[in-house]
Amino acid sequence: MPISNKVEPYAAIIGAGRSSFGEQWYKDPEKLVMEAGIRAMESVDSGLRRRDIQACYLGSFLYQATNKLSLLPGYMSRELGINIPMSTTEAACASGGSAFYNACMAIKSGKYDVVLVGGFEKMTDRVSKIVDDLMFAADPHEFDAGFTFAGLYATMMARYIHDYGQGQSRCIEALAQIACKNHHHAIDNEYAQYRREISVDDVLKSQPIADPIRLLHCSPISDGAAAVLLTKPDLAKKYTDTPVYVTGSQQATDDVSLFTRASLTGIKATRLAVGMALKETGLSMEDIQIAEVHDCFTVEEALFLEDSGFYEVGKAWEGIYESYESNKGSKHIPYVKDGASLIVNAGGGLKADGHPVGATGVRQIYECFKQLRKEAGKNQVEIDGDLNLALTHNIGGTGGIAVVHILARDVA
């Protein structure tokens, strides 16, 4: 489905690059993000020079605590060898998405013609304290209550199982199937951290981390970076014949603390951001063909399917179960309902592709860019009809922020 000609894109993506995700012991954080940035520049069909970049937006979460770095613009200026305006966005796991959002606003403002957006995280530098550091994205009272991040999502998952699954084993299986599906999607993703199949049984018998969350419900600790290049929509064709347009760009916030929110079984910021993004693009969730969803823990993917309106509240687990069971053999396993079909996390999502926190939001854009341009190689999504619309969903903390983008290759 083409986007209405009344929708003015915020920006056009003309290049994208990323590093492999996983343990990158031998690369400094700034080298990692440069690797992604260089690949993004090299991916621009008509070429792009460093000095064409007029501003740089970076997303990262724990660089100060974990990597003992600050003033990232200074590092990036040194690496790129240019002295342009640069800024860093920290929004926990949505740092990358927020950097991309800011970059879109910068292009839309008219000030810059070309900007580089980078996201990175180097989590393995201090693995012994990463569980503690991740709690920077929560209220300190939650830390002092003994919570871990897995524990907070487990608190949501437990309530979801209680309220909607009513203890049924199919609900528990569905929340495991999300991990299996995303691992399956990563098999042909050359950059993914985990390129191996896992079974529901593997998930449900994996190490308990924070009951009811087990190890294989969780996204991993990862190092990695991703980068994309944005330009003004009317300049895009100068760089490539197939730009991808950012037609929706929305962000919503909510309490940093899970305990102060009205609901444990839904993310208000997601509902708001998705709703606004769909509204501004004149689309409904049924129009979206692929989505990169923030599956930091599998339950979050289920919550997205409800918060976005794809499935009814309380019914996602049934949709997930039925979709997984009926599409097991497919290369990409879609979520289906009443004729609509949505492929979520075609590259493996945070779960299997990896979750270098600040890189994730940008990596989601990268994945959609490649898929919409049919450049995903062996992992290319194949659907009936033309693949044209993608949505990215990047959240921070337990839902203190949600950043949603809608991307389209063809606009009217």
Binding site: A145, G146, F147, A158, P208, I209, D211, F259, T260
Partner: protein
């Protein structure tokens, strides 16, 4: 955390302090300066939930904690709602060790929970220790919920005495396999308890028992030989957690001090408390005295088979007195029977020297002197309680002073809880007050190594009966079906954490 961060958190976390909109009643935790609905012009008033019963909304069994909580192993963290969901807070379920197998957390949803003042973690062995009331025990677990009802006392005053008391005994126990001088089992602190947390819990129970507002307590003494800090009072932690004295800009118009005199650090101050409430220029109605210890003993030392953990708190006043303090004698000498040098972790003792020339000499002398000054004979006393390092010493001392075994037996709770050090004789006094009748006379004799004894005679009044419904009798705690036994290594591990 840091010192200023800790101070800011103390103001909120000790009391679970929220802010409530005076217009619409919406409540916010952490507290906010304006109501989201009523706008910036709204007025907010503080509201505390530290004495309220909450409900567990959801939670998780944390199997891989943050480094700060590794010492607790696995535990449940969750979200608790108060006021029918009007305000929610995060909290950790304490006094509970989840089983190794997967726990169905949904089974805990909707269960009542009670705030507990517990230690969170500390900044190493030389940094601050952090506490919070955002720890909860299940309502149907060991500690019942006691509603804190403030009762207006009568206008008339009497001779000073006890107006309320509370004994805090941890849920956990260790059984002695051998004889251990009559001590069969002992109380064990959970991994997040220490003498400061015991003191707060016992003090809270005393306030609830007395039915008084903490605002009227203008002095608080905490006696202990296991204070968490060498320098920094436990008393100020108790005052902040229990709101003792009138609150003013985050502090309180009240005073007090920590005291140390081995096991009589608290009992010694009963007379001072009674004297203060009768002193004309003492501005308060009440004085709180708490004896609290995570009784120290080195691994495999003979003491290691008699020490317990817990606290007893006594409120003194002149109205609504349940037991008047009628007679007092103290006896002191420089007898080096038991001591701990600064910087040393465990006390040393003189073996058999701690008996005849130390404990017995001081306790028996004080008891006999108290009989003499009171003009009472042993038969006039209904119950006799003494500091109880074990079950044999107090019985032997009382008999030597002319008492019968049946006068001593009801207070010999040491058999089941171990030696509470500073809390020992006060907890024994509480145990007999639990069963005493109006008119009964009780003699309590402390002993503190180093060495000295205080002997008090109390007379029970009729006020005691109406307050009983507001307390948990010591025997009930001793026999509580939810008490849980731990092995020796767990006992040592938890005790040393405290």
């Amino acid at each position: 955390m840091s010192e200023p961060m800790a101070r800011r958190r103390i103001l909120v976390d000790y009391r679970i302090r929220a802010s409530k909109c005076t217009e619409c009643g919406r409540t916010y935790f952490p507290p906010k300066s304006f109501c989201n609905v009523e706008g910036r012009g709204s007025r907010m008033s503080p509201v505390d939930y530290a004495n309220s019963k909450g409900m567990l909304v959801s939670g998780s069994v944390i199997r891989k904690p943050t480094n700060k909580f590794l010492h607790l192993g696995s535990y449940i963290s969750g979200i608790v709602s108060f006021n029918d969901g009007g305000v929610k807070v995060p909290g950790r379920i304490t006094d509970l060790v989840p089983p190794d197998g997967e726990v169905d957390v949904t089974e805990f949803m909707g269960k009542g929970v009670i705030p507990r003042f517990r230690r969170l973690y500390s900044d190493g062995s030389d940094g601050l220790i952090y506490y919070s009331s955002l720890n909860f025990s299940f309502e149907d677990d060991y500690f019942p919920y006691l509603e804190y009802k403030k009762v207006k006392p009568p206008e008339t005053t009497t001779r000073p005495g006890i107006v309320g008391y509370g004994v805090y005994l941890p849920k956990f126990r260790i059984k002695n396999e051998g004889e251990a001088l009559g001590v069969k089992e002992r109380t064990v602190p959970f991994a997040d308890e220490n003498s400061a947390t015991f003191a707060v819990e016992a003090g809270r129970m005393a306030l609830i028992h007395a039915g008084i507002d903490g605002m009227s307590v203008k002095k608080c003494f905490v006696g202990s030989e296991s204070p968490p800090y060498a320098v920094k009072p436990t008393m100020s932690t108790v005052s902040q957690a229990l709101l003792l004295g009138e609150e003013y800009e985050g502090g309180f118009f009240s005073g007090g001090i920590d005291s140390e005199f081995a096991c009589k650090a608290a009992a010694d101050l009963f007379i001072d408390a009674a004297a203060l409430v009768a002193y004309p220029t003492f501005s308060g109605e009440h004085v709180l005295v708490i004896g609290s210890d995570n009784s120290q003993a080195e691994r495999n030392d003979p003491l290691d088979y008699t020490v317990g953990a817990g606290a007893a708190a006594f409120l003194f006043g002149r109205r609504d007195v349940i037991a008047t303090l009628d007679h007092y004698v103290a006896y002191t000498s420089d007898t080096p029977d038991f001591y701990r040098r600064e910087g040393q972790r465990y006390p040393r003792h003189g073996g058999r020297f701690t008996g005849e020339p130390a404990y017995f000499k001081h306790v028996v002398t004080a008891m006999k002197a108290a009989l003499k000054v009171s003009g009472l004979s042993p038969k006039d006393i209904r119950y006799v309680v003494c500091h109880s390092p074990n079950a044999k010493f107090p019985m032997q001392a009382a008999i030597e002073a002319g008492f019968e075994a049946e006068q001593v037996e009801p207070g010999l709770i040491v058999k089941y809880i171990g030696n509470l050090y500073s809390g020992s004789s006060p907890a024994s006094l509480a145990a007999v007050l639990d069963i005493a009748e109006p008119g009964d006379k009780i003699m309590m004799t402390s002993y503190g190594s180093g060495a000295g004894s205080d002997s008090y005679v109390f007379t029970v009044t009729k006020e005691i009966e109406k307050k009983r419904e507001r307390s948990v009798p010591v025997r009930q705690m001793i026999e509580n079906e939810r008490r849980a036994y731990v092995d020796y290594n767990t006992y040592r591990e938890w005790k040393e954490l405290g």
